[in-house]
């Protein structure tokens, strides 16, 4: 839940805001980047118990559009990271298992008119890092190299085994004693279900 103090509310109600966009990958070592220029110290927040310094030397190229996930929805987003940054190249060259499965968080922080933080970063999206891909394109004036980090949400990896059904027999094999699929056979397409008479 996004909780803002009054200073932050006043700041975002103005027609010109100053925001910091933060990216945190809980790998070993932790990767902390932000979209601003230069290093940025943030205070204690939900993910950095002692505060931390986020670097902004052009590593984080862009952040994806994220949405609020409800009712078990899953999503997969791509973070664009500079492919020419030494820090990123070092992280990408590590064992893939170091990155895969690491918690990835996207947060924002509201600054005041003097570029001082009005509150700690608010982590608006948390996902699980999956894999990195590198793309290199020729553009006018040179070549751009970008690394994309694919991040899934909590429900992204939910699975239903192939050739399995939601029948009572299958459900008992998967979870003995579970009665969820007990009445599955009573439901069929184009069939009217008569309201039961208990008398």
């Amino acid at each position: 839940m996004l909780v803002l103090n009054q200073d932050e509310i006043d700041a975002i109600e103005s027609s010109t805001q100053r925001l910091g966009i933060f990216f945190r990958l809980d790998s070993d070592p932790v990767v902390r980047l932000w979209l601003g220029v230069g290093p940025c110290r943030v205070g204690v927040n939900a993910l950095d118990a002692n505060g931390a310094i986020y670097t902004g030397f052009g590593e984080l190229n862009n952040v994806p559009e994220v949405e609020q996930l409800i009712n078990g929805r899953a999503t997969r987003v791509e973070f664009a990271i500079s492919g020419v940054s030494g820090r990123v190249m070092q992280a990408a060259s590590e064992d893939a298992e170091t990155i895969q499965g690491s918690e990835c968080a996207l947060g924002l922080c509201i600054f005041g008119g003097s570029w001082q933080q009005l509150g700690p970063p608010k982590w608006i999206f948390r996902g699980t890092a999956d894999y990195m891909t590198m793309a290199q394109d020729a553009v006018e004036g040179g070549v751009t190299r970008m690394i994309s980090l694919s991040v899934g949400s909590l429900m992204t990896s939910r699975r239903r085994r192939g050739l399995s059904y939601l029948t009572n027999q299958d459900q008992q094999a998967r979870h003995p004693g579970d009665r969820m699929c007990e009445r599955t056979t009573l439901y069929a397409q184009d069939t009217d279900k008569v309201w039961p008479r208990f008398s």
Binding site: S15, T16, R18, L19, W34, V37, G38, S114, W115, G142
Partner: protein
Amino acid sequence: MTTVALFHFPINILWEAQVSWEITSQMVGSGQTASGVSPTTRIDGGGAWKLTLSEVNLLWADARRTWRSLSAICDGGSNPIVVPMRDIPDVPYPTSGGVLLTRYDDINHTDDVPFASGVGYQVGTVDASLVGAALLNATSLTIAISGPGTPGTLRGGEHFSINHPVLRYRMYRIRTVKDNGDGTWNVTIRPPLRANTPDGTLLDFATPKCVMRLASGKEMDAAFEPMWISRPTASFIEAFPPFPVP
């Protein structure tokens, strides 16, 4: 971390016709509303320095060779370079008897002999330092200015640089000024302070500098007219460590 030696742009050899030192600003807008309002959001944390040297005079051999040498040193933008700013008209020089004191006489060695080139040791006349430690990202500082005669005054718009231990030379522009009346000034700066800075840190107002790199690989391309004359234009952007060993 090993300190990497950085080359300095020779502003005494290469003179430009126009110079532009500005701070970048990345604004994100959502378009104009029906009422004509255009809300914008800034997400760059204060911006970074960008520099354009327009029509640098390469009219004589030293300038021409220096430019070509620098082009190779900058290596298409992969090597940073320290670029000083020529800010002489706005440096808060002290005055004595109504005369600006821009420099002292050269100081020779103890045997009164200068260097082989004929110059001696030089020292600036603006003695400025930070009062109280300042934290990373700070935009409000207290500055003490002293010196011979009547110390210079700040009005806003001046530039100074700090040689940080890791980030090296970083330049700052004074935004607002308040005279405390005791030789100290409360100022606000942009961009925000790049590193934690201890009390007493020297501030260079005389020749502010910043670590920059070429904005693109073609910035130092120079086309020469017959008799080897050229007036190229080059753009730089602020560079951050780690710096490669040149």
